[in-house]
């Protein structure tokens, strides 16, 4: 869905997304990194279970909620990636509140 401008490549670092090692660009937020890495969605809705992806990228819509290093409901668009970060997508109805 997105490609990176060649000039914007930057330094890479590795995070884990649902246990899978993913190379991301240092300086990206978690939400941007997930979109850049081709993740189609980052959580499912706790109401219907429908998949949701980052929507506003500015901290107001709360669609990009993910679990970061064990802390649930972090706004992925506000959290910069760090080397070794453990990111988990949230599955709404099955593990509400994570």
């Amino acid at each position: 869905m997105f490609r990176r401008l060649p000039e914007a490549a930057g330094a890479a670092l590795a995070v884990s997304v649902d246990g899978q090692r993913v190379e991301v660009r240092a300086g990206d937020t978690v939400a941007a990194a997930l979109l850049a890495a081709g993740f189609g969605h980052c959580r499912t809705s706790p109401v219907s279970g429908a998949p949701r992806a980052p929507y506003c990228m500015m901290g107001v819509c709360f669609e990009c909620l993910v679990t970061v290093d064990g802390v649930g409901n972090r706004q992925g668009c506000l959290v910069p990636v760090r080397e070794g970060m453990l990111i988990e997508t949230q599955r709404g109805e099955r593990e509400v509140g994570r």
Partner: protein, 373 residues
């Protein structure tokens, strides 16, 4: 030109709406006057606890009577009000506290009340597996539960209207005057209403109504705070309350958890505004953190406070005015009036229609504040 009715109820909380409904059930034509909208304040934004557990001994008979109405609430108001009876548990945090609970349960038995049951560690753990292992037991009231407060108040209002009550919202009572055997009530809308009976169910604003009648009461305006969390895995069905520290804790079927228990914010009667006290919210959060380790992952999504009246002895004022004939008081429920709403509305209607009630309401008489006036 005044509109006339059989009774005027001031206040559209659960109590005013319930009294209006029960008056209508008795074939009377009540007029209810609410300054905002029904359920706008404490009745609509409380924690929804339907609790006989841990009540003041004087309130127990009223609470038990009210519980009977809760158990057939759908028949009464045409809506189940979201009432679910999954019990309420009073958790003892220490052995000493548990001993005190034992005395209470014994005392209740002596008076013939059996709804409260002392439980030990094993039964507590069975009922509330998530509770911290350090808690030695508690009291359970198994028929207790919780309902949806705004929905409940609205259901009472709707049913009252369906039975012929007039409900006027967005109108403030500005004056009461006696005219022979009737009371004439003037309002902010410039309208006036007449009836032989007036019920003061104005909650936090009831002190103002009492003052208009020349019958001031030592009513304190309080703003009990509540917080709600993000959805959590379902881990608890009964409502859990503490006595030593202030906490009431309830998880909804959708996973969100409601944290209350009586920590107070600030309220302003004129603007309807409440302001939260973050230090006290932090105390609530700490209590939950310690009692339920699973909640350490939770996020607080919202916090708010209702506006409520508290009396110095923490029990309500129920019954006729000591100074003005035809005036009845029904306020000061001190942040635990929601469960009492159905029952006290019924007894108030009985009192108005027949002149008496079998329920013991003497402890709630407004005359008990005589010396403070």
């Amino acid at each position: 030109m005044s509109t006339t009715g059989d009774a005027i109820v001031i206040g559209g909380g659960i109590h005013g709406c319930s009294t209006a409904l029960h008056l209508a059930l008795r074939g009377l034509k009540p007029i209810l006057i609410e300054k905002d909208h029904a359920g706008r304040h404490a009745s609509g934004v409380n924690a929804g606890g339907v609790r006989q557990l841990a009540r003041h001994l004087d309130e127990v008979p009223l609470s038990v009577a009210s519980m009977e109405l809760w158990e057939r609430i759908a028949d009464l108001v045409g809506d189940d009000c979201g009432f679910k009876s999954e019990g309420q548990v009073l958790v003892a945090e220490t052995e000493a506290e548990l001993e005190g609970f034992r005395d209470r349960v014994d005392e209740l038995r002596l008076r013939g009340f059996t709804q409260e049951e002392l439980i030990g560690r094993a039964e507590l753990k069975r009922l509330v597996p998530a509770v911290s292992d350090t808690c030695p037991g508690g009291i359970v009231s198994r028929r207790d539960g919780a309902a949806e407060p705004f929905r409940t108040t609205q259901a009472f209002r709707r049913k009252a209207v369906a039975l012929g009550a007039k409900v006027l919202e967005g109108i403030t009572v500005t004056g009461l005057a006696r005219n022979g055997s009737t009371w004439r009530i003037s309002t902010s809308a410039g309208t006036s209403y007449e009836a032989p009976v007036v019920v003061n169910a104005a909650g936090a604003w009831a002190g103002r109504i009492a003052a208009m009648l020349g019958e001031p009461v030592p009513l304190e305006v309080i703003a009990p705070m509540l917080m709600i969390t993000s959805r959590m895995p379902l881990f608890i069905s009964p409502v859990v309350i503490l006595r030593g520290r202030k906490l009431s804790f309830k998880q909804f079927a959708n996973g969100t958890a409601l944290i209350g228990g009586g920590h107070l914010g600030r309220a302003d009667l004129d603007s309807n505004r409440t302001e939260l006290d973050l230090a006290k919210l932090a105390e609530s959060a700490r209590t939950v953190w310690e009692l339920f380790p699973i909640m350490r992952q939770a996020t607080i999504v919202r916090a708010w406070a209702g506006i409520e009246a508290r009396m110095p002895d923490d029990i309500p004022v129920i019954g006729p005015s000591a100074t003005s004939e035809g005036i009845y008081h029904q306020f000061g429920f001190s942040a635990h009036g929601f469960q009492l709403g159905p029952g006290v509305g019924a007894l108030m209607a009985e009192l108005i229609a027949t002149g008496s009630t079998n329920l013991p309401i003497a402890p709630f008489s407004i005359t008990r504040f005589g010396s403070s006036r």
